[in-house]
């Protein structure tokens, strides 16, 4: 083996700047997509459990449709497929304002929203039906019951699986490089191309993802403790 390690390529020249930009873009696309996924997941997950069939059908359709198509296909769909359907002005605006970023963000958010939906639905179904009855028996409307009781309890119950999927979302944001979003993986490859140092470049990328994921997991553990329902989740004191 005669590979010459040269770690200094990571901080000489433009590498550091590229990686930093990649990191920021990964964070931006992931955070926005996460918010979109959370909103879609909560709304559709709750809709799938309501005592009114049309809402259940709509939400089920959304989940099955988005869950069963590969993320890559969604990326292409939002980037190549959707813009031509939009009015000319919107298209022009988009292509002057990083269309690939918005397409990637939508693809990621909508795809993970469908997964989040499943998680939320499972959380809601684990709440005894009598909780719902007690709430409606006091005169709250179904919408109020969901907003004030069912969803808040479910969210507290699903922190571990939701964390898991949030990490998947972050990692899946790398798929956006296929529609040329210059996120972290894209930039790591750029470093590799310019320096011809594949191991160093990809190690840098790997370590950044690892640190991000561990950081998120640590934050979510604190969130879980902070919002734990007394008596229900007795973990780690």
């Amino acid at each position: 083996m005669n590979y010459q390690f040269n770690w200094s390529v990571l901080w000489s020249g433009q590498s550091g700047g590229w990686l930093l930009h990649g990191l920021l873009l990964t964070l931006a696309i992931s955070v926005l997509a996460w918010v979109l996924a959370a909103v879609l997941g909560i709304v559709s997950g709750a809709m799938r459990t309501v005592p009114w069939k049309p809402l259940r059908v709509i939400a089920t359709f959304y989940v099955e449709f988005f869950r069963n198509v590969p993320l890559l296909v969604w990326m292409f769909f939002w980037y190549f497929g959707v813009p031509p359907l939009l009015p000319r002005v919107v298209q022009d605006w988009l292509f002057n304002h990083s269309a690939e970023f918005w397409a990637g963000m939508f693809a990621l958010g909508v795809y993970h929203g469908a997964r989040m939906s499943e998680i939320i639905r499972a959380g809601i179904l684990s709440i005894p039906r009598t909780q719902f009855e007690a709430a409606v028996a006091m005169g709250l409307t179904t919408f109020q019951v969901y907003r004030l009781i069912i969803v808040p309890i479910a969210l507290r119950l699903i922190v571990p699986p939701a964390t898991n999927d949030s990490l998947n979302l972050l990692k899946n944001s790398s798929v956006a490089l296929t529609i040329s979003v210059a996120e972290l993986t894209f930039q790591a490859r750029q470093v590799e191309t310019y320096t011809a140092k594949a191991i160093e470049a990809l190690t840098a990328g790997t370590v950044i993802y690892l640190v991000l994921c561990l950081g998120i997991a640590a934050i979510m553990t604190r969130v879980e403790r902070r919002f734990a329902i007394p008596g229900l989740i007795a973990r780690g004191g």
Binding site: P128, T130, Q131, E133, A134, A135, V136, A137, M138, G139, L140, T141, Q144, L148, I149, P152, I153, R156, I229, P230, G231, L232
Partner: protein, 246 residues
């Protein structure tokens, strides 16, 4: 005579093809305390759950506080603010403190200010004899305390009728009386109450009338004195012999 607070008129209900209530005729006067008893599966829960619309029924009519329910256009939410319900499994909201549990509906449904609602809630907690538990979470209360909070929570809506579905069945024996005492107070204050319970001591002391159900029918109704001393039907006698023997 004042019109009944609750009036079942030939109410029948099916779950699929299985008939669980058959031609129920029953009128409950304002201020009356009615204990509903009967063997498991006889339809007691279903009966009282009809009163606040938790169970729809297919035939007959049910008039609650002057309103015929089960007809399209009747606002269930409005009715439910006037009918409180207490369940066997307490059903306090685990992510809210006792105070939050009690003030939720008064604020969200009746539109009270948080301060007014809290004031009422604290008074109610005194009434159910746990004034010092307002800031606790349900998980940190005993079963008896949780059930008393559930009663306070229902009372916070100032209901005209209170429904109880086996309120003491999930409790350890030493906690049953603290809940029954609160219910007894409530009965003395003139609340209209429909209580499904196997606590025959409570029925004897507090009820104005005992309704015995079997297989979806009201088989017998009588004052507690008559019911316990001289039940007419064999099924009621059989039921009583089983329940009083332990």
């Amino acid at each position: 005579m004042a019109p009944p607070a609750i009036e079942f008129k030939s109410v029948s209900k099916w779950f699929g093809t299985h008939q669980v209530l058959t031609d129920i005729d029953l009128a409950i006067a304002p201020g009356e305390v009615v204990v509903v008893c009967g063997p498991s599966g006889s339809g007691k829960s279903t009966l009282i759950r009809c009163v606040n619309g938790l169970e729809p029924f297919q035939r007959g009519d049910l008039v609650v506080l002057g309103e015929s329910i089960g007809r399209p256009g009747v606002s269930m939410s409005a009715l439910r603010t006037r009918v409180g319900m207490v369940f066997q499994s307490f059903n306090l909201f685990p992510h809210m403190t006792v105070l939050e549990n009690i003030t939720l509906a008064p604020v969200r449904v009746r539109g009270l200010s948080a301060a007014e609602a809290e004031k009422t809630a604290r008074t109610l907690l005194e009434r159910v004899r746990i004034p010092d538990k307002a800031e606790n979470y349900p998980a940190n209360l005993s079963g008896g305390q949780q059930q008393r909070v559930a009663i306070a929570r229902a009372l916070a809506m100032q209901p005209k009728i209170m429904l109880f579905d086996e309120p003491t069945s999930a409790l350890d024996p030493e906690m049953i009386n603290e809940v029954l005492d609160v219910m007894t107070d409530l009965a003395k204050e003139g609340m209209t109450m429909m209580v499904v319970t196997h606590e025959m001591g409570f029925a004897r002391r507090v009820a104005h009338r005992v309704v015995f159900m079997d297989a979806g029918r009201v088989v017998e109704e009588a004052t507690p004195e008559v019911f316990f001393a001289a039940a007419k039907s064999d099924r009621a006698k059989d039921f009583l012999s089983k329940i009083l023997s332990h």
